[in-house]
Symmetry: C2
Subunit: 348 residues, 2 copies
């Protein structure tokens, strides 16, 4: 089997993303009936989509569709909708987390204030559904409906996962274990990052139950692995490549696998100090608070532990993926396999 | 023609709302697969729907459907979706405006914090689309699609109108006239309050172009009239009935018709003082600032002016409504006519 090199995969993601971006930006032009009063709203909706991003999700949608016997063109609009979804959820996520940076630039609410940014996220959410509806012309009513049902499931899972993560911070909860983290990640990340993009591609190609079930397993496992790598990059990554402020997760009090492992292996004194630091409000955390947590992450090699888990999860996910008998483009199927490695080895 | 008394109309709204509430609360029960971690999210999603509300929008949807020859049962789920929409948009609106009260109780973000409330709004938005999809079982694919397209249009208009209103505050704009206000109200209020609820009812009943065009005219005009009455109640109403904090619009710097008229007729000194008060941040406005603006509202009878406009707009809206040749329940058609009066005469 041909194994795709990461640089080739990245080139392919870039290629698909460029096609999807064209579709998205065309959709987000002000309508002729629109007064200039709302020009700014359109510029705000275009803001995140125009920033540099990996384009993983559209790639997964399009590539799975091809592997399942469909064409790239059939899946392109659905891929664009996933990207639209990703962009509005990030706008709201950045407000919820009080984040400063997104994709290397100030978060939308830092540029325009929270009220306008929140509303722009809602507007983009509405445009997402509007765009899905236009699938009808190409896919017909029934398949468009199946796409919408998967989408609806995806948004439900994502908002539930987001609630779990935010709720733990608000309620200052630390009685959490690996399983809790996996549950939260499955909802917050796996569905919209891997499982649904792949399943949507398969649905567009006309696939049903069995393949969708395998893609569910693949997506959940790899999605958690992807999130673990994201958590690791947040603490160790090159901010320029990664695009978010370094150690933001500590400032935001995130319950990452790295942190939960650290709490499980640290001694009582260290544990108490970590919890008291993590429970402080963002603006109350000092640079030395962050350094202290990072020094313990190093001391106990918590990142090494998390990366080991990510590798295991990726392997299990591949078992699910390899269980699928693809009927379409073989090259596309091989790209999906290689993508799994990218998800846990990427540096950005 | 039988003219419905307001108390009868209110009883009818209450009856329809009770049926819609049953549907909604059933939809918002935690799913069996849901861990208890997300129980709070479900409680938050249920919070606004369980507060007392007029239930105008579901009433309009169901009643128009009956007038157009459909049944109440056909329209009930769509009516519930409009109510779901109304609830998530209010959650976000309250955050954007920094409101304290909603329907007589603390706004959701005052109870649970902004991050969780924002996300609960998104979750409810997703549930809205999920619920619309289930129309398929009763209405079939094509009609469900038509419902979704109207819904999509409605959400787009609402977010654009919301942007206009918030943008004027952020940009400290006061170079606005009646026409600007009508444009903003059409988008922010008319579509989701009157035009789309009526049109959705008609779509469910199988109506097409001509009736939908008339309902558009009816809805836009009456929607503006409704908003003017809302603005008046905000300054004069009984807070217990009205459910929002009195004079909140002044604290939020809203560009109401009342305020715009006041600025047009006040003398230069008064005008400068009003603008400087209105441009202050919410928390910087003193009680005497608010009293000053209210005293000028009285002095120039700006509310009288606005109410006159509302009455004119209602009359024009009725011309559009009376142009429709209803093919269904005559009693329902008469209720729509009487509703127009309610929209501008209500005290809550």
């Amino acid at each position: 089997m041909l194994v795709w090199r990461l640089t080739d995969l990245q080139a392919e993601m870039k290629r698909v993303k460029a096609r999807v971006d064209d579709l998205i930006l065309n959709r987000l032009l002000p309508k002729s009936s629109t007064t200039k009063e709302v020009d700014l709203l359109y510029r705000m909706m275009q803001d995140y989509p125009m920033r540099q991003a990996k384009g993983m999700r559209p790639f997964l949608c399009v590539t799975t569709c091809r592997a399942a016997g469909g064409t790239e063109d059939d899946a392109l609009l659905t891929a664009a909708c996933i990207e639209l979804f990703q962009n509005w959820i990030l706008i709201h996520d950045d407000i919820e987390d009080g984040s400063e940076l997104r994709r290397g630039e100030p978060a939308l609410h830092r540029k325009y204030g929270e009220a306008l940014a929140l509303n722009a996220g809602d507007a983009l959410h509405a445009r997402t559904w509007e765009a899905i509806l236009t699938n009808e012309a190409n896919l017909g009513l029934e398949r468009t409906f199946a796409v919408m049902k998967e989408f609806s499931h995806m948004v439900n899972e994502t908002t539930e996962g987001q609630h779990m993560e935010l709720g733990w911070v608000v309620e200052k909860r630390w009685d959490l274990n690996e399983k809790d983290y996996y549950e939260m990640c499955t909802r917050k990340t796996s569905w919209y990052t891997i499982a649904s993009p792949c399943r949507l591609g398969a649905i567009v190609a006309g696939e049903g139950g069995a393949v969708l079930g395998q893609l569910r397993e693949f997506g959940i496992g790899l999605g958690i692995a992807f999130q673990i790598q994201d958590d690791s990059l947040n603490l160790t990554g090159d901010q320029k490549k990664y695009g978010k402020a370094k150690s933001d997760d500590i400032l935001e009090g995130k319950r990452t696998l790295i942190l939960l492992h650290l709490l499980a292996v640290a001694n009582q004194g260290e544990r108490d100090k970590i919890v008291s630091i993590m429970n402080k409000k963002r603006e109350a955390k000092s640079a030395s608070d962050v350094s202290y947590v990072l020094s313990l992450v190093d001391k106990y090699d918590a990142i090494g532990f998390a990366r080991k888990r990510a590798a295991e999860l990726m392997k299990e996910a591949l078992v699910a993926l390899n269980g699928i008998r693809w009927t379409g483009d073989r090259e596309a199927a091989e790209m999906l396999t290689s993508f799994a490695r990218f998800a846990v080895e990427r540096e950005w």
